[in-house]
């Protein structure tokens, strides 16, 4: 592992910001390009899902009884889960719903929940980490203990248990239950357990940056706290934050699918990859295609995000090991 700073070589050419340098490093990284491309495909699929509804003349919720074996409703007619020119990824056992459309719409749900949860967790985590690290003292003590307590929770188990409770509370307020409440509840629950990880990293960074002379320098000029936090410290956190976010997205995608898989997630008929996997469990032996498609999709997407996250980290911190 080389501890050299790579950019010292040669005379300074242009005014290149560290972000720009990172961007240039990423642009030459083949893995990063392939991963980004893969993610791009999934995002496009999610965004353009309605177009396929129009092409395939059906909706993700439409039952197709004609595609199923009338004797055994669990078996799609034809090979590989009923893959055909009308149903590109086959059909769902028992209902005959189009798996491709459910996959595309599922990408929508999974990605939007995971991205929202990541965004929320990042905002909370960065704010708390900044406050905790910058102010120190009692505020830091309280916030750090809070993080410690949240991290002591068995997160999946607790998320599973807390979802019906939250929903019950909403119901008590007269909010109709269903996906309109379930999805926000999931985002809140996921970010509730996600932010401490980000906050911890940000706090550690803030504590080390807070003591740097350039912060003192700014103070000696008369900078306000807001200026110190947002103009001096925060710009130095973009790299770790970006890396955390990049590596948090796949975690959130996985967690979202796990929650839905365990039954505390998105409710049918809204499509979701975790829900598809859950629905496939009874049929894995008679119709393995139905298990494979959402499972493999999830794998590809998470892998792409993981690889991209690694590349982002390498690009932002060239000293880290490759």
């Amino acid at each position: 592992m080389s501890k050299k700073i790579s950019s010292v070589v040669g005379a300074p050419i242009e005014g290149r910001s560290p972000a720009r340098m990172a961007w240039e490093r990423i642009k030459t990284d083949r893995t990063a390009k392939i991963s980004a491309f893969t993610i791009g495909i999934f995002v496009t699929l999610a965004l353009t899902a309605p177009i396929f509804t129009w092409i395939l003349h059906t909706s993700p919720d439409q039952f197709h009884p004609e595609t199923l074996d009338p004797t055994f409703g669990t078996n799609p007619l034809g090979k590989f889960g009923g893959i055909s020119s009308e149903h590109w990824f086959g059909v769902e056992p028992r209902t005959g719903r189009d798996v491709f459309l459910r996959f595309a719409y599922g990408a929508r749900t999974s990605l939007s929940i995971a991205l929202s949860a990541t965004a929320l967790a990042t905002v909370i985590g960065v704010l708390v980490g900044l406050i905790s690290g910058f102010y120190g003292g009692k505020i830091d003590l309280v916030l750090s203990r809070t993080m410690e307590i949240i991290l002591a929770f068995p997160s999946i188990l607790f998320a599973l248990a807390v979802t019906p409770v939250f929903e019950n509370v909403l119901e008590g307020w007269g909010v109709p239950t269903g996906n309109t409440t379930r999805i926000p509840v999931m985002i809140i629950v996921l970010s509730m357990f996600g932010w401490p990880y980000i906050a911890r990293i940000v706090r550690g960074q803030v504590i080390s940056i807070r003591e740097k002379e350039f912060v003192e320098a700014a103070r000696s000029i008369g900078a306000t706290r807001t200026h110190l936090v947002f103009k001096e410290i925060l710009p130095n956190l973009w790299a770790p934050i970006l890396v955390t976010v990049a590596l948090n997205i796949p975690t959130m995608i996985t967690a979202e699918a796990a929650l839905t898989f365990l039954g505390a997630g998105v409710i049918d008929p809204t499509s979701d990859w975790g829900a598809m996997l859950l629905a496939s469990v009874p049929f894995y032996s008679v119709d393995p295609t139905y298990t494979f498609i959402p499972g493999f999709g999830l794998f590809l997407l998470v892998l792409a995000f993981n690889l991209l996250g690694d590349s982002v980290r390498d690009a932002l911190d060239p000293r880290s090991s490759r």
Binding site: D69, G73, N75, R94, G178, P269
Partner: protein
């Protein structure tokens, strides 16, 4: 009400419906059934039969037991006044603790049963008439002993408003009478019940000595009067039965006693049970499941020669239907539109296709010949044309003078029920309705869905019924008789129908002899479905139970419509 009850079979039900009901009326002639049951050909003693169950028994207390598989199983250690006996695929009603099938001199209002006097509990003590009476009395405390059928309390005359021995200790129930010699018990009923000897097959009519009654804990260790007794019972995990040496085979017309032990293992999942029974390795060879249908792997085993001997396929008494709430869906044309919009095909496919059930126009099965009517729903034979009749549905909807296009569909969140509801939602939408899907938790569905005049009252209730005895009286009274309802609670009359013409028919049925009564009840159902459009029956479920290759002596029990383990033995 038997909404929770798993199933009652159609096999052997034909015999019950057409012949046994008559033989009950001439009950004294049936004493020949009191002889011990004949041995099963080829059966040998010894070994352990393992029973794989998804969960624990809901209740083993006889007064609280109301679930098909358990109703069969608990007979291994519980004897009741009368009981079903299945030999060579034929099910008969026989006297069990009783010595005859009961006699009545006033058309079914007073019933007297002779009792066997030579029966003992596992502790060697004699079974007495007082114990039989106490068993009935404690079933009145259904606030503590919840879960069981309430027929004893419903049918037996209660002039003193008796509330059970826990609530009113020392008080007597004067309408259940033991004679002075203690060898006969008499029940005075509030109304004539000609089929009362069927009712006495339920656990409330089993002997329990007052001294051994541990109230709600009795089900953890019920005292045995049958061929086996409980050796150990760990709730949710396992239960072991061993031989009861105080039981005398010569006194028992119902039970065999081949294995040394029955071992129940609980808590495995549907799929695990299916897979291990199919794989038939190790312990699974001597295993059987009575609460788990082969569902997901059915296509791999049905009609495959290899599994033919161990796969038991039979129609169940379990009818899946939709109740259309006439309180909220007032216009008959809207109800007819709903009936036409029901897509029988996609609903049955969601449940597993024609291997999992058979289309049914009515909730009275074909086998109850006296009451069954072969009518059409939405102008077609549903077994031939199961698809939704959307054009007709739209036409009916157009005709409605009080149109209601937003429907609230109530269903239970369990198994394939949400998918079946989704299937209905689709065809209702296609017919021009807007559907609000109202999912209820699995454990809390029937009671809230039956509440009347509440906000968000459901318009369509996706539910099911299995009769407690194979007669229209076991179905139509419970599902369609307005007299069971209150203004707040529709009970099991989920369609909430209260039609004057039908009430007249019910009044007539009340006082009719059995055969005539069955015919009238059949008329009522037909009218309710065809004329009033308040009900859509969709299909009868098919059971597919599997056993290990080393288990013999299993047969389909007509009384409880399940695979009976009473005659099970381990093949050598």
């Amino acid at each position: 009400m038997s909404l929770m009850k798993k199933a009652l079979a159609l096999v052997g039900v034909a015999a019950l419906a057409s012949t046994t009901l008559l033989s009950v009326n001439a009950a004294s002639a049936a004493t020949t059934f009191a002889t011990p049951v004949a041995p099963i050909k080829g059966a040998v003693k010894g070994g352990t039969v393992t029973i794989l169950a998804q969960g624990d028994f809901e209740h083993l207390d006889p007064a609280r037991n109301y679930v098909g598989g358990t109703l069969d199983f608990y007979r291994l250690f519980t004897r009741t006044l009368t009981q079903y006996r299945t030999v060579n695929g034929k099910t008969d009603l026989v006297p069990d603790v009783a010595a005859d099938l009961g006699t009545t001199k006033d058309g079914g209002k007073t019933w007297t049963f002779k009792l066997r006097t030579n029966l003992k509990y596992e502790d060697g003590k004699k079974i007495t008439c007082a114990d039989m009476k106490y068993g009935v009395m404690r079933s009145y405390n259904d606030d503590i002993l919840d879960g069981g059928p309430t027929y004893a309390k419903d049918f037996i005359d209660n002039p003193t408003s008796y509330k059970g021995p826990y609530t009113e200790p020392g008080k007597d129930l004067p309408t259940v009478i033991c004679n002075s010699k203690g060898d006969a018990i008499t029940f005075k009923l509030a109304i004539p019940v000609p089929y009362f000897p069927y009712v006495t097959t339920f656990g409330a009519f089993s002997p329990i000595p007052k001294a051994k009654d541990t109230k709600q804990n009795y089900e953890l260790r019920p005292l045995s009067s049958g061929p086996y007794k409980i050796e150990s019972y760990s709730r949710g995990k396992e239960l072991s039965l061993v031989r009861n040496d105080q039981w005398d085979p010569k006194t028992d017309p119902v039970r065999w006693n081949y294995p040394d032990e029955y071992h129940v293992i609980m808590g495995a999942d549907q799929n695990v049970i299916e897979q291990s029974l199919i794989s038939d390795s190790g312990n699974a060879k001597t295993s059987v499941s009575f609460d788990t249908n082969i569902i997901t792997n059915l296509s791999k085993v049905l009609n495959v020669a290899k599994y033919k001997d161990r796969l038991f396929n039979f129609d169940s008494a379990y009818n899946r239907y939709y109740a259309i709430n006439v309180d909220t869906v007032k216009d008959i044309n809207v109800r007819k539109a709903i009936q036409c919009a029901v897509d029988f095909k996609s609903i049955l496919l969601a449940a597993g296709g024609t291997s999992a059930g058979s289309y049914a126009n009515s909730t009275i099965p074909k086998s109850i010949k006296a009451a069954y009517r072969n009518f059409n729903v939405c102008g077609r034979d549903v077994s031939k044309k199961p698809e939704a009749q959307l054009d007709q549905a739209k036409a009916f909807l157009a005709k409605a003078t009080n149109p209601k296009t937003t429907l609230r569909l109530a269903y239970r969140d369990r198994g394939v029920e949400p998918l079946r509801a989704a299937a209905l939602e689709q065809s209702l939408k296609a017919a021009g309705f807007t559907v609000i899907m109202d999912k209820y938790p699995s454990s809390d569905f029937y009671a809230p869905a039956a509440k009347r005049g509440v906000p968000n009252e459901p318009d369509i209730i996706q539910t099911s019924w299995a009769f407690d005895w194979a007669a229209a009286s076991g179905i139509v009274y419970a599902l369609f008789d307005a007299r069971t309802m209150s203004p707040e609670d529709a009970k099991s009359n989920q369609s909430r129908g209260d039609f004057a013409d039908l009430q007249k028919l019910f009044a007539k049925a009340d006082t009719s002899a059995t055969a005539a009564q069955e015919k009238i009840l059949g008329d009522i159902e037909q009218s309710l479905i065809v004329d009033k459009a308040a009900h859509v029956s969709v299909y009868f479920e098919t059971s597919h139970y599997m056993a290990g290759s080393k288990v013999g002596g299993l047969q389909v029990d007509g009384g409880y419509s399940t695979l009976s383990v009473l005659g099970a033995y381990v093949k050598k």
